[in-house]
C-alpha cells in the first residue's frame, strides 16, 4: 500500500555500505520532534498562574507522565523522567501525525519501533547491572524453586526477559499498521459499493477514525508504562 512506502527525499547519502539518505520516514520523525519542541517551548515560556491552552496542555502532560512514573516505578525512577517523557511524546506525536490523511506513520514500521524497544531494553539492562552488579542476574532465579527444576526455570525466565523488546515493538507496530490497513480497506469498500451501498462502510470509517485516535494515544501510553515497569524491575530488584 502506498501509505506504507518509504522513499527517498533529496540526494542519496551513503556511509560505507549503509544507505542513510533522508526519507519520508525521517521527514515525519523530524516533523513530530519539531512539533513537540515548539509546543513545549511555547507552553513553558510564560508561567502565568491562569494558563492559556498551550500551557495547560504542557502542564497536563507533565503531571500525567509524572503520576504514571510515580505509580509504576516509584520515586527511584525520578531521574529518568526526561527520557520517558520524551519517549511518550515522540511515540504519541508520530502516531497522531499518522492520523492526518496523506501523511506517513513512522510507528507503523517494525524497524522503528524495534529500535526504540531495543534501545530501552539495552538501557534498562545496563541500569540494572550498574545498580545491582551481578546481583541483577537474580532476576532470572526466582526464589523457592526446587533445584531439579532450576535449569528449566532459568531458561524460561531468560526467554521471557528477551521477549520484552519483541512484545513491546510488535504491539505498537501491529496496532498502528492494522488500524491504518483497516481504514484503507473500509475506504476501498466505499468506492466499490458506490453511492448506493457506500454509506455503511463510510460510517464505519468515521467510527474507525475515532477508534484509531484512541489506539494512537493508548499505544503511546502502553509503550511508556511498560518502559516504566521494566525500569522498575531494574531499579527495585526483589522477586
Amino acid at each position: 500500500m502506498t501509505q506504507f512506502e518509504v522513499y527517498r527525499i533529496g540526494p542519496e547519502i551513503k556511509v560505507g555500505t549503509f544507505d542513510v539518505s533522508f526519507t519520508n520516514a525521517s521527514l515525519f520523525m523530524v516533523v513530530s520532534s519539531l512539533a513537540i519542541l515548539i509546543i513545549f517551548n511555547l507552553g513553558s515560556k510564560k508561567n502565568s498562574l491562569i494558563p492559556n491552552k498551550i500551557q495547560l496542555l504542557a502542564e497536563l502532560s507533565y503531571t500525567f507522565i509524572s503520576k504514571m512514573i510515580g505509580d509504576t516505578a516509584g520515586s527511584k525512577a525520578r531521574p529518568y523522567f526526561a527520557f520517558i517523557f520524551s519517549l511518550f511524546m515522540f511515540v504519541l506525536f508520530c502516531n497522531m501525525f499518522g492520523m492526518i490523511p496523506y501523511t506517513f506513520t513512522v510507528t507503523s514500521h517494525i524497524i522503528v519501533t524495534f529500535m526504540l524497544a531495543a534501545f530501552i531494553f539495552i538501557g534498562v539492562t545496563i541500569i540494572g547491572f550498574i545498580k545491582h552488579g551481578f546481583g541483577y542476574l537474580k532476576l532470572f532465579v526466582p526464589s523457592g524453586v526446587p533445584a531439579v527444576l532450576l535449569p528449566l526455570i532459568v531458561v524460561i525466565e531468560i526467554i521471557s526477559y528477551l521477549s520484552r523488546p519483541v512484545s513491546l515493538s510488535v504491539r505498537l507496530f501491529a496496532n498502528m499498521m492494522a488500524g491504518h490497513t483497516m481504514m484503507k480497506v473500509f475506504g476501498g469498500f466505499v468506492i466499490s459499493l458506490g453511492i448506493v451501498g457506500g454509506w455503511l462502510p463510510l460510517s464505519f470509517s468515521v467510527a474507525l477514525t475515532g477508534l484509531e485516535i484512541l489506539v494512537a494515544f493508548l499505544q503511546a501510553y502502553v509503550f511508556a508504562i511498560l518502559t516504566c515497569i521494566y525500569l522498575n524491575d531494574a531499579l527495585n530488584l526483589h522477586h
Binding site: R171, Y221, L226
Partner: protein, 91 residues
C-alpha cells in the same frame, strides 16, 4: 474575591476532581492498556523461543530438535508471562 474564599473553593473543586473523573479515567486507560499488553506477551515469548532454538540448531547442527524444544519452552514462558502480569493486575 477574598483569598480565603478562593482557596476553599479551589480545595473543594480539587477534591471533586480527584474523587470522580481522574480515578475513573486512569482505571479505564490502564485496563485497556493491560489488555493490549497480555495479547502480545503470549506470542512474543513463543517467537523468541523459536528464534533461539533456530540459532542454536544452526550453530550445533542438530537440525530439528532444539527448535522444537525451545518452541515449547517459549510457549511455557509466554503462559508464565501472562500469569505473572495477571497477578500484578489483581494487586
Amino acid at each position: 474575591m477574598p483569598k480565603d474564599q478562593f482557596k476553599t473553593r479551589l480545595q473543594i473543586a480539587k477534591e471533586k476532581l480527584s474523587k470522580k473523573n481522574l480515578r475513573d479515567n486512569s482505571e479505564n486507560t490502564t485496563s485497556i492498556g493491560a489488555a493490549f499488553k497480555l495479547s502480545t506477551e503470549l506470542v512474543s515469548a513463543v517467537a523468541v523461543g523459536a528464534i533461539i532454538g533456530f540459532i542454536l540448531d544452526k550453530t550445533f547442527g542438530t537440525k530439528p530438535w532444539l527448535i522444537i524444544i525451545f518452541f515449547f519452552v517459549g510457549v511455557i514462558a509466554g503462559i508464565i508471562n501472562v500469569v505473572k502480569s495477571a497477578k500484578k493486575m489483581q494487586k
